[in-house]
Amino acid sequence: MTFLQFLITGLSLGSVYAIIALGYTMVYGIAKMLNFAHGDIIMVGAYIAYFAMGKYNLPSFVAVMASVLVCTLLGVVVERLAYKPLRKVSSLSVLITAIGVSYFLQNGAQLLWSSAPKMFTSIIPADTIKLFDGQLTVTYLSIFTIVVTLLIMVGLTLFVTRSKIGKAMRACAEDKDTARLMGINVDTTISITFAIGSGLAAVAAALYASAYQSISPTLGSMPGIKAFTAAVLGGIGSMPGAFLGGLLLGVIETLVKGYLTTQLSDAFVFGILIIILLVKPSGLLGKRYVEKV
C-alpha cells in the first residue's frame, strides 16, 4: 500500500516535471537551444498566480489563466528581444544569453517581491480521498495534477500533429531553411513555440506551488533542472519522451525518498539519467542523429 501511495505522489510530481519538460523539449526541438531561463518563467508564473489570488482575490482558475497569459507574453518578449537576434550564431552565445535572462528574472523578482518566501495557497481545495479503509490517502491536488497533465499531453499531441501551426512547428524543427522556402513564417512559428512552452510553465508553476505551498525567487531553478533532465532522459526534442521522462523522474525521486534516502535522492535521480544515457545516448525516445560521411 505504501508503494501505491508513493507511486501516486510520484506520478503527481512527475506530471509537473512532464509539463515543464514538454515546454523545454518543444523549445529545444525548434530553437536548438538549452533555455536556461525556462525555470525562471515558472517562478514568475507562480508569483503572478499568488498575487492574482492573494491580492486581487481572483478565483484560482482565473488566477492561473492570468498567470498563463503573463508567462506567454513574457516568453514571447524574451524570445524576440534576447534570442531572436542570435538565431544564426553559435549555440553557446545563446546559452549565455539565456543564463543572463535567468539572472535577470531571478534578481528582478527578488527586487520586486523580496527574497523572503511567501505562503502559496493551493489552487485546489486541500481535501483528500481515503481508499482501502484509509490506508491510501490521495489528495485532490494529485489527481487534478495528473489529469491536467494527461489533458495537456493529448491536446498538445493533437495540436502538433493535426493543426497547421503544429505542422509548421515540426517542419521548422526539422529544417528551418527548407521550411522558409515552403512559405512557413519561421519567426512566427518559433514565437508560438516559446509562447506555448511558457504558458505550460505557468500551469506547472501553479501546480508545483500548490504542492509546496511556498514560493521564492529561486523557486524555478530546481524544477527547471529536473524537467530539463526529464526532457533529456526522454530524448530531447521528443514530446512523448518528455512526458515519459517527467513521469519516470517524479516516480523515481519519490520512491528513492520514500524507501532509501532523502539526502541522496538527487544523486539517484541524476545517476539514473546518466545510466540511461549511457545505454541509449539519445534518450529513451529520442532520434539518433548520425553524421553522414
Binding site: F36, A82, Q263, S282
Partner: protein, 362 residues
C-alpha cells in the same frame, strides 16, 4: 640590436604566440601591481580578500576553456571538480596539520592531492560522458556536478587519538579524546586553517598557463583541436578521439581541482552547496565572454566579471540585474552583424595604415 628585436619578435610575438605572451605579461603585471598597492596600503581589506578567490577562478576558467574551447565539449559541471579539489585539500590539510606544520609545504601537498583526486574523478566521469555528444554531454556533466555535491553533502569525517572515522548520510562519528571533526555533512567544513595566499594563487596561475599552453602547442594539443574540428577526419588519420578527449578532460579536471584546493583553503568555513551547477555556469560565462580558445581573453574576462559585481556593491540589489543586462547586452552586441562589419572595417583600416607605415620606413 635589430637582431635582438627580431629574435624577441619571433619568439614571443609571432602569430599564435602573442596570446601566450600577453597572458603571462598580464598575470605578472597584475600580481606586481597588487603587491605594490597592498604594500602601499591602498587596497581595502574587502578588495584584498577577493584576490585569492580571483586567482582560483582564473585557474578554473582556463581549465574550463581547455574543455570547452580547445576540446569543444560543453561542460556544465566543472564546479564539481572544483568542489572535489576543495574538500580533498581541506581533508588532507586537516589530517596533516599535526605532522606538517609548515603551511607552504602543507598547501603544496594538499594541492597535489586535490589534483590527483579530481583527475581521478575526471577520468571516472569522462569515460562514460565523452561518448555522448553536444547538449547530452552538457546535461550529464551537470548531473555529475549535482551528484558530487550531494555526495560531499553527506560525508562526515573526523579523527581522534585512535584514528580516522568516516560515515555517510548520518553522523555516526564517535570520537574520543583529541577529537577533530573535519567534514560535517551539509554544513561542510569549518575551522579550516587558512593557508592559501595570493602568491600561491599567482604561482598556480603560472603553472596552469605553462601546462595549458605547452599542451596546446604540442602534438596532443593539435590532436585535441583536430578532434574538435572534425571528429571523423581525425579518426581517419589514426587519432583515437575518445582517448584524446579524455586526456584533455582529465587535465582540465586536475587543474580545476587545484583551483578548488586554493579556494577551499582560503576560507575558514566551506559548504558543499557552494560548488553546484550555478558556480559551473558562472565560470562558463567567464570562458565564453573571454573567447573560446582564448586564454588571455579568459583571464581578462574573469578579472572584470568577478571584480566588477563585487565593486558594485553600493548598487545593492540592482547589482545582479545590471550584471544580467550587461551579459545579455554583450552577447547581443558581439554577435550583431552590423557591429561585426564595423569592427572588420576598422581593423582593416588599421592594418592598412600599419602596412603603409612599414612601407614608408623601408
Amino acid at each position: 640590436m635589430a637582431k635582438v628585436t627580431e629574435l624577441l619578435k619571433n619568439r614571443f610575438f609571432s602569430g599564435k604566440k602573442v596570446n601566450r605572451t600577453v597572458s603571462y605579461l598580464l598575470v605578472i603585471f597584475g600580481y606586481v601591481l597588487m603587491i605594490i598597492l597592498m604594500k602601499a596600503g591602498m587596497l581595502t581589506s574587502h578588495f584584498t580578500s577577493l584576490l585569492v578567490p580571483l586567482t582560483s577562478y582564473i585557474v578554473i576558467a582556463i581549465a574550463l576553456n581547455l574543455t570547452v574551447g580547445f576540446s569543444g565539449e560543453l561542460s556544465l559541471g566543472h564546479a564539481g571538480f572544483m568542489g572535489v579539489g576543495a574538500f580533498s585539500a581541506v581533508i588532507i590539510s586537516g589530517l596533516l596539520l599535526p605532522y606538517v606544520p609548515n603551511t607552504t609545504l602543507r598547501l603544496i601537498i594538499a594541492m597535489l592531492g586535490a589534483a590527483l583526486v579530481s583527475s581521478l574523478f575526471g577520468a571516472i566521469i569522462g569515460i562514460p560522458v565523452l561518448k555522448l555528444e553536444g547538449d547530452y554531454l552538457a546535461i550529464v556533466t551537470l548531473a555529475f556536478n549535482q551528484i558530487i555535491k550531494t555526495i560531499i553533502n553527506s560525508i562526515y569525517l573526523g579523527y581522534d587519538n585512535n584514528g580516522i572515522q568516516i560515515s555517510f548520510v548520518k553522523n555516526k562519528l564517535n570520537l574520543g579524546e583529541g577529537a577533530v571533526t573535519i567534514l560535517k555533512g551539509p554544513i561542510g567544513a569549518n575551522g579550516i586553517k587558512r593557508i592559501s595566499t595570493f602568491t600561491a594563487g599567482f604561482i598556480l596561475i603560472l603553472i596552469t598557463l605553462l601546462v595549458v599552453y605547452n599542451l596546446i602547442y604540442s602534438r596532443k594539443g593539435r590532436d585535441i583541436m583536430a578532434c574538435r574540428d572534425n571528429r571523423i577526419a581525425a579518426e581517419s588519420v589514426g587519432i583515437n578521439v575518445t582517448n584524446i578527449k579524455l586526456e584533455a578532460f582529465v587535465i582540465s579536471a586536475a587543474l580545476a581541482g587545484c583551483a578548488g584546493a586554493l579556494y577551499g583553503l582560503n576560507y575558514s568555513t566551506l559548504t558543499p552547496a557552494k560548488f553546484d551547477y550555478n558556480l559551473s555556469i558562472m565560470i562558463l560565462v567567464y570562458v565564453v565572454l573571454g573567447g573560446l580558445g582564448n586564454i588571455a581573453g579568459t583571464i581578462i574576462s574573469t578579472v572584470i566579471l568577478y571584480i566588477l559585481p563585487e565593486q558594485l556593491r553600493f548598487l545593492q540589489d540592482y547589482r545582479m540585474i545590471i550584471y544580467a543586462v550587461v551579459l545579455i547586452g554583450i552577447m547581443l552586441l558581439t554577435n550583431n552583424s552590423w557591429f561585426k562589419v564595423q569592427y572588420y572595417k576598422i581593423s582593416k583600416r588599421i592594418r592598412k595604415k600599419m602596412r603603409e607605415k612599414k612601407g614608408a620606413a623601408a
